[in-house]
Structure formats: structure tokens, C-alpha cells
């Protein structure tokens, strides 16, 4: 079911709050992978506030949907979501990265409830996701697995090994996202190591590709609904996004892959995010 205008506005508000919390977390942490956290925030929001069948009070519930954050470096974006969902105390975000904290740049599944896999070494997540999806099939469980990859991450051969397996085993209880923000650490993806024609690569590996605007909840939800229904082949949603989405001085700039923020910069970021939120609220495709 596509989302209603009202649902969309609720998601817009949530994504906005989470972006603010992410910016604060980066400040508290003394630094963090903010660019890729902000580009992925709408995907995280729609998954955690619309699709994932989970119970924060029972994080190890065997029938829960699984979410594998393959681009594990965006802990500063993921932890605020987990805190907002009630998996962890929000106060803990203030100690993010501090010595002895359970919240590191890359979240540890043994320390942080709600984290289905310890990631951070790129190129591992899709294999794990294929594993949890295949296990569900074997154990006759109906839950889904969702996996989020970075585009730079797709340089790793292991991503394609996993893709090959997903289509070989016809793993259709899996929805794969790529956060196509077109940036990695050392530069734009197409300059460092070209990915294009990216969609064709996924197609060649047996996937059905849905290309969407990764900051448009309507498009995201249509694509996810499609993927949930589709049983002939695994689906990958290539979400066109902006690195640093919502913060004008970061947007599209690969140099904001990792950064730290003082209170002045936080203020600037908040201002920009507020404007961005107002703009997003105004845009409505079906209302």
C-alpha cells in the first residue's frame, strides 16, 4: 500500500528529528561519518517507522525482520534511530565514542540491542543478509531481511559474490538498498572507481532494479512494496541520494564523509535542516 499524504508528513517529521539528533550525536562524539548518515536517513526512517516488523522491547525476537547495515560506518545515523525506537537510552548518545562507551563509530551487535550484525568492514553485509534470508526460508519463517549498502562499498568483489548467490538461490525475502550518494572517501565514486552502468551490473547479476529518489518517501515506499511482492528475482533499490542531505554546506561534498562539528557548525546545520524540512513538507505528489 503506498503511503498516504499524512503518513508521508509523519515520516518527514521523523526524518527531520533524526537528522537533528544525528548532527548532535556527531558533535557529542567528537566526529563521525555524517555525510553518509544523512544521505541514508530517509531509507532508515521509512524502514524503521513503516516497514520493519520489530519489537524494541524484544530485540532478539526470532521472527523479527532483519536489518543489516552493510555500510556500517554510519553508526552516528543508526544509533539515533535505535535510541528513538527505544532500543537504547537516548542519553547514551551523549557518550558516543567516549572511552568505555558501548557506542563506537561502528556499532557492535553484542553491545547494542537492535543491531543485527557487527559491520564496518565494507562488503560483508549483503552476504550476511543472504544468510539470514536463506535461514528464514529453511526455517519456514516469514520475516524479511533488509540490507543497506553504500555505493562506494559496491567496489568490493564480495558484494557481487553475494549478489550472485542471492539470484542463484532466488532469495526474494530480501530487499537490498544502495545509498547512491555518488561519493566515497577519496572523491566522487565515478572518479575513484567508476560504477556505471550501475543498474545494468545489478541486472546482469539477476536482480530487478528499482531506481528511485532516495529522499522521496512516496518513491521509496512504492519500490519497497514492489520488492515485497516480487517473487521472481531479488530486488535492489538504487536510491539516488545526496551525501550530507539537508545540510547545505555538506550536500554533495565527498569531503564531508567524516567530520566533526563545533557548536557554531551545529547551529548552521540546524538552520539548514530546518529550511530543508520546510521545503520537504511542502512538496507533495499526491495531495
Amino acid at each position: 500500500m503506498p503511503i498516504s499524504v499524512n503518513e508521508r508528513l509523519i515520516l518527514e517529521k521523523k526524518a527531520h528529528e533524526l537528522r537533528l539528533l544525528c548532527v548532535n550525536t556527531v558533535m557529542w562524539a567528537g566526529g563521525g561519518h555524517i555525510g553518509g548518515a544523512l544521505s541514508a536517513m530517509d531509507i532508515l526512517t521509512i524502514l524503521y517507522y513503516k516497514y520493519l516488523n520489530i519489537d524494541p522491547k524484544n530485540p532478539n525476537w526470532p521472527d523479527r525482520d532483519r536489518f543489516i547495515l552493510s555500510k556500517g560506518h554510519i553508526g552516528v545515523g543508526f544509533a539515533p534511530v535505535l535510541a528513538d525506537k527505544g532500543y537504547i537510552d537516548k542519553e547514551l548518545l551523549k557518550k558516543y565514542n567516549h572511552t568505555g562507551s558501548d557506542l563506537a563509530m561502528h556499532l557492535d551487535s553484542l553491545k547494542v540491542p537492535g543491531v543485527d550484525a557487527s559491520t564496518g568492514s565494507l562488503g560483508h553485509g549483503l552476504s550476511i543478509a543472504v544468510g539470514t534470508a536463506l535461514a528464514a526460508r529453511l526455517l519456514k519463517k516469514s520475516h524479511m531481511t533488509y540490507c543497506l549498502l553504500g555505493d562506494g562499498e559496491c567496489n568490493e568483489g564480495s558484494v557481487w559474490e553475494a549478489a550472485m548467490a542471492a539470484s542463484h538461490y532466488q532469495v526474494t525475502n530480501l530487499v537490498t538498498f544502495v545509498d547512491r550518494n555518488k561519493c566515497m572517501i577519496d572523491g566522487p565514486t565515478e572518479e575513484v572507481m567508476g560504477l556505471e552502468p550501475f543498474a545494468k551490473k545489478w541486472e546482469a547479476f539477476g536482480f530487478i532494479v528499482k531506481a528511485v529518489d532516495g529522499h522521496d518517501f512516496m518513491q521509496l515506499s512504492e519500490a519497497i512494496d514492489f520488492a515485497l511482492e516480487e517473487k521472481s528475482a531479488p530486488v535492489v533499490i538504487i536510491a539516488d541520494t545526496n551525501k550530507g542531505c539537508g545540510v547545505d554546506f555538506m550536500e554533495g561534498d565527498y569531503k564531508w564523509h567524516y567530520g566533526s562539528l563545533d557548536s557554531e557548525k551545529v547551529e548552521q546545520a540546524f538552520e539548514s535542516l530546518e529550511k530543508y524540512y520546510q521545503k520537504r513538507k511542502g512538496v507533495s505528489r499526491n495531495g
Binding site: G72, N97, G100, G152, G157, M184
Partner: protein, 336 residues
């Protein structure tokens, strides 16, 4: 060694260890057109990006694809070029280990692996970016020499020496700044030869990497506060290990502590223990390091304190070890 580099001029206090590495590689690259550089989307972070800027045609950023990177480097080495390959230590020694093993070490190719963010130096990142296993892993790769410099100046020496030493070499450096220890390059750095930093006859502290500075601090305190003479060895080369220096320490001090930013299994401590065990001599011995666990997170200095591989930890261990009994050796009358 055909030296003549100007890195002694580098203001080592202003440059991080990896920046010194980058600068030295640029100088070497100027003189030796066979040097090529590689990184996997970590050119900026490892500072091999300095080489990239200077020699764009001789540098390859292969994207986030470490296995491919080491394979390509192997191919280039086969053609007589000298690849310097830089990524984080964990990805060099674990993500791409089969390529490092089979394509590089097995074929004894002339590839220099300069890995940054070693040990717990990227402490806040968590265990996916901590690297406390690499010395153990790389030490068991036949043909490969393993070096852990104490600071920026020693890194400069090691990188230069690596170029002039054929075969695979693994150099592990830290993220960011190290406490500067050496103030000039001419102290006789030689691969496989420990540097004796303090003379001592009561106990020997054998350290590598960031623990060297801590060991010397501890030795100074032992001398001033306890009247104890501690010998400190900068064991920058883990393989080939300097057996002679270890046997001499066993002979002269009979009490030995090793200290490293690495799992206590398989690294410097194990290498030293093997030599001691082989000597047949009695010796009080303790290994300081990470106690076979995935580390907690935090700042590097805090983690060094937590795992007792800092000055205080070494002091505590030294004082305990000085009181410890070990089986005396009747025929061993030449103990000092």
C-alpha cells in the same frame, strides 16, 4: 644504505606519523621511478595521497577493493616495479590476506605494505577497525619481514630501509600523531636490529611501536624512584627478531617484560618468548598487551592505560616482576 633523504629536516612534531611516511615516499619516488603507489579509497587517510599528488601516473586508487589492490600490486612487482601499498592495518592483513599470502609472500615479490591505523590507534572506531592481530598473522607469512616503528622518525627510517631490502615487508604504523621519541634519524636503524635505548642490568623492557615511548618513561621512573636499572629495547623489527639482543637481555637481566599494542598471542611477546624458551635459561617473564579480547572503545591513550601497556602499566608489571622468583640456574654463574 643509499641514504641522503632530507626527512631529518621534517618538523616531526608538526607531522603525523603517516604524513612523514607520505613525505618520505615522495622523496624516494623522486629518485626511484620503479616505485608505484596503491590505496583502496584510503589515500587521504593513510597519507599515501601525498605520493599520488606528486606522481599521479604512478598511483592507483583501486576503490574499496583491497583484494584486487594486492593482486594488482603483485602483478606490477612481477614486472620489476616496487609497489608501496597502503590501507588500514586490519584490511591489509585480514581483508586481503589470501592475496598477501599467495600473490605476494608465497611468490616472494617485492611489495611494501605500509599499513596505518594499527593496534588500538583508531580506538573509537571499534573492533572492525582495531588491529591487534596483524603482527601474529604477518609474522607467520614466510618471506615477509615485519616492522613496527616507534614514531615518525623511525617510520621514515623503516620506509627507506624497506625500499632497499628486497622482498615483502609489512610496516605497521598508527593513526594520527605518535609521541615523538627519536629527535634525529641517525641512531643506527637497521632492520632486524633492536635499538638499546637505556642501559640496565635489573630488568629488560622490550617494546615496539607506541609502547617504546611508554617503556622509556617507565625506565626513567624506575631509575629515579626505585633505583632500578631497566634496559629498554626498541624492538622495531618483529621479524626477523633480534635474537642476540634478547639472549643478551636474558643473560644480563634475567627479568624481561614485553609490551605491545597487540593481542598478547602471537606478536612481539610471543616472538621474544620463543627465543627465551629456546635458550634453556631460567627467566622471569611477562607479556603486556591486549589480553586476547576484542577491545573496548575509546581514545588510544585511554585504551593503552586500560590494558596497562602505558607507563603506569609497565611500572606496575616491572615492580611485580622484580619480586618474582624463577628457577635459578646452578651453572649460570655469570649472571650480572
Amino acid at each position: 644504505m643509499a641514504s641522503g633523504l632530507t626527512y631529518t629536516m621534517l618538523d616531526a612534531t608538526k607531522l603525523s606519523t603517516s604524513e612523514i611516511y607520505g613525505a618520505v615516499l615522495c622523496e624516494l619516488g623522486e629518485k626511484h621511478p620503479d616505485i608505484v603507489g596503491f590505496s583502496a579509497d584510503l589515500a587521504k587517510s593513510t597519507k599515501i595521497g601525498l605520493f599520488q599528488k606528486k606522481f599521479p601516473d604512478r598511483f592507483f586508487n583501486v576503490g574499496i577493493a583491497e583484494q584486487n589492490m594486492f593482486g594488482i600490486a603483485a602483478g606490477m612487482a612481477k614486472a620489476g616495479l616496487t609497489p608501496f601499498v597502503s590501507t588500514f592495518a586490519i584490511f591489509a592483513t585480514m581483508r586481503a590476506l589470501d592475496q598477501v599470502h599467495t600473490d605476494i609472500c608465497y611468490q616472494n615479490l617485492n611489495v611494501k605494505i605500509i599499513a596505518t591505523h594499527g593496534g588500538l590507534s583508531f580506538g573509537q572506531a571499534g573492533s572492525t577497525h582495531h588491529c591487534t592481530e596483524d603482527l601474529s598473522i604477518m609474522r607467520s607469512m614466510a618471506n615477509c619481514q615485519v616492522i613496527v616503528p616507534a614514531d615518525g622518525i623511525e617510520t621514515a627510517n623503516a620506509v627507506e630501509a624497506a625500499y632497499y631490502t628486497p622482498g615483502p615487508i609489512y610496516i605497521r604504523i598508527n593513526r594520527g600523531f605518535d609521541r615523538r621519541f627519536y629527535d634525529r634519524a641517525e641512531y643506527g636503524f637497521k632492520i632486524g636490529k633492536a635499538v638499546k635505548l637505556t642501559e640496565g642490568t635489573d630488568i629488560t623492557i622490550i617494546a615496539c611501536g607506541s609502547c617504546v615511548y611508554q617503556a622509556v618513561e617507565a625506565a626513567n621512573i624506575l631509575a629515579n624512584a626505585d633505583g632500578i636499572k631497566a634496559r629498554v629495547l626498541d624492538m622495531h623489527t618483529i621479524k626477523p627478531i633480534d635474537k642476540e639482543a634478547i639472549l643478551e637481555a636474558v643473560h644480563d637481566t634475567r627479568r624481561i617484560i614485553t609490551v605491545e599494542d597487540h593481542n598478547v598471542i602471537g606478536g612481539l611477546g610471543s616472538a621474544v618468548a620463543e627465543v627465551i624458551a629456546g635458550s634453556g635459561k631460567g627467566c622471569a617473564f611477562e607479556r603486556l598487551g591486549i589480553p586476547d579480547t576484542f577491545s573496548i572503545i575509546g581514545l588510544h591513550e585511554d585504551l593503552m592505560a586500560y590494558y596497562k601497556i602505558d607507563t603506569n602499566g609497565i611500572l606496575e608489571c616491572a615492580r611485580e616482576l622484580l619480586g618474582r622468583d624463577f628457577e635459578a640456574d646452578d651453572d649460570w654463574e655469570d649472571e650480572v
